[in-house]
């Protein structure tokens, strides 16, 4: 059930340059790939910001976010005890029920955020993490106990493979691929998976207003027409999505 409430921040710590982890105490619903609309201001800006569930334990939910514009700047200045409004859980999330065999999680930059909770909840499969970053890597070590291997890249070559994560990712050995990252990277991953006929599920980032499926500003083009990223998505079958880029 979607709920809308005020909470107080219990932790908001920097985990890497421009990357923060924000936690809120309470008992929350939500499955991997679902998200919440977050708000830590009054009426301006008008829109709340969609952020994926990064982790969820009994009495706490966490979000991992990158500071981009005025909304995330405001999140980054939150202190323990400050108020934050959460609307969620929203969206469909990854369907983990049917997955078996070897599964790859492919993340680009902050797209790694939803993958952590996904890795944690994904049981009975063999799991590899592929994560691409610009310069610094973050939180990938947290995945160790939930995945069989971690491969990573940086654009700058600071650590891991120098280049794109798609350079070192071969979909052909996997029975399914879950992917989250910049659209251009997801497009590439989908093309690679399609070529090898490997099922791939991607989490689309569209600008949102209501977050619950009412306003239609988050349209994602698919072979079956426009879908709402916030309600019908954010996770779509990679084969269905028509990319803008």
């Amino acid at each position: 059930m979607i709920s809308y409430h005020k909470y107080s921040v219990c932790e908001n710590e920097i985990v890497s340059k421009g990357i923060y982890k924000l936690s809120v105490k309470g008992s929350f619903e939500g499955k991997p790939g679902q998200f919440y609309m977050l708000r830590a201001w009054g009426t301006e800006p008008i829109l709340s910001r969609p952020i994926s569930i990064h982790d969820k334990i009994k009495d706490k939910i966490s979000f991992l976010y990158e500071v981009k514009g005025r909304g995330t700047v405001q999140f980054s200045s939150l202190d323990t005890g400050d108020e934050i409004e959460l609307l969620g859980p929203l969206g469909n999330g990854f369907d983990l029920s049917g997955l078996k065999g070897k599964v790859a999680l492919v993340a680009g930059g902050i797209g790694v955020a939803p993958m952590f909770y996904t890795a944690k909840e994904l049981k009975g499969v063999s799991l590899d993490l592929y994560a691409g970053f610009r310069d610094d890597t973050y939180i990938i070590e947290d995945f160790r106990k939930y995945v069989d291997s971690i491969k990573f890249s940086t654009d700058t070559g600071k650590s891991g493979h120098k280049g794109f994560i798609t350079d070192i990712f071969d979909p052909s050995v996997y029975s399914s691929v879950l992917c989250c990252g910049p659209e251009i990277m997801m497009k590439k991953v989908v093309e690679m998976c399609n070529a090898g006929d490997v099922p791939v599920y991607i989490s689309m980032e569209k600008h949102m207003a209501c977050g619950i499926g009412a306003c239609l500003v988050c349209a994602c083009k698919t072979r079956e027409g426009n879908k709402r990223a916030c309600k019908d998505g954010p996770v779509f079958n990679g084969k269905d999505v028509l990319f803008d880029a």
């Binding site: 008008i46 209501c210 619950i212 499926g213 009412a214 500003v217 988050c218 349209a219 803008d244």
Partner: protein, 298 residues
């Protein structure tokens, strides 16, 4: 105490969810008791299903939002089949918001809605008139007269005409629409506006311009409602930047029979409830027994 009667239809309070921001109510129902609303205006319908615009559809400005949804909707038939039964199951006034690119489309849409139990039709005349080169029906009085009178001729429901703030002369436009048979006027729809991505050196929206809504437009919308309410004899519904009971009361004092809340729903999904409660509190505090006592009082 909060109830209003608009052309024979009883609204339990003057708060109506504005078209396009509330879908058909379904999603908000999971969050709060939407039967507490005075009414719900449906997502803007067109005769046939529409996929809407490409590219980015929403962009924030100072105290406002620009949207370019482009009337994505399931079409009148889809609405009647899949959405109306749900809406009618609620205890609130159900308004079907109808747009279109040609007069024929509007007429056919109305004919279909006539045979349903929709409570009221809201005619969105801000749509680009495809036959007159894309200028909206709601800019020039003659175009508006034409469409409103033709729709009025066949429409069996109370007819609310939603004015565009881009009209050349909002007061004349209002008078024209009333002369053409509008039973109620609602105003305003979004303002034609734009934003530019200076890094890409391109307009933010594929369509170049988009519609501005939210608190930024309130002072202009309020002025228009005030002027229109003083110039016509039919009820006027105020829309534009309402996000608090203070805002709603300003529109009512300017002469509005009821108000609609659009962008405000994005700030807080149950903002309409806060506004209803706030109006009630104000009335109790000021010992006002009915909204009629303060409507148009300024």
């Amino acid at each position: 105490m909060l109830n209003v009667n608009i052309c024979g239809i009883e609204f339990k309070n003057p708060l109506i969810a504005a078209s396009g921001t509330f879908g058909f109510g379904r999603e908000y129902k999971e969050l709060f008791d939407i039967s507490r609303l005075g009414g719900i205006s449906s997502k803007g319908l067109t005769l046939n299903k529409k996929e809407g615009n490409n590219g980015l559809r929403i962009y924030e400005t100072s105290s406002g939002i620009l949207n370019s949804v482009g009337l994505q909707n399931p079409g009148v038939d889809g609405f009647i089949k899949d959405e109306l039964p749900f809406m009618k199951s609620l205890d609130t006034v159900v308004i079907a918001n109808l747009g279109g690119g040609t007069i024929e489309e509007y007429i056919k849409g109305i004919e279909k809605l006539n045979d349903t139990d929709v409570d009221m039709v809201e005619l969105n005349i801000s749509c680009p008139n495809v036959k007159s080169g894309g200028m909206a029906f709601g800019i020039k009085c003659a175009d508006a007269f034409d469409i409103v009178s033709k729709v009025r001729d066949i429409c069996k429901k109370p007819l609310m005409v939603k004015l565009s703030p881009n009209a050349e002369d909002i007061v004349k436009m209002a008078i024209t629409c009333v002369e053409a048979g509008a039973d109620v006027l609602s105003l305003v729809n979004t303002f034609k506006a734009m934003a530019i991505d200076i890094k890409r050196r391109k307009p933010v929206f594929d369509n170049i311009t988009a519609g501005l809504s939210g608190p930024s437009i309130k002072p202009i919308a309020l002025r228009m409602v005030y002027e229109v309410a003083g110039a016509v004899d039919v009820p006027v519904v105020g829309v534009g930047g309402i996000i608090s009971s203070q805002d709603a009361l300003e529109f009512i004092m300017a002469g509005a029979a009821a108000v609609q809340v659009g962008s405000g729903n994005f700030i807080k999904p149950d903002i309409c409830i806060d506004i209803i409660d706030g109006i009630e509190k104000f009335m109790i505090g000021e010992n006002i027994k009915s909204l009629g006592e303060i409507r148009g009082i300024i």
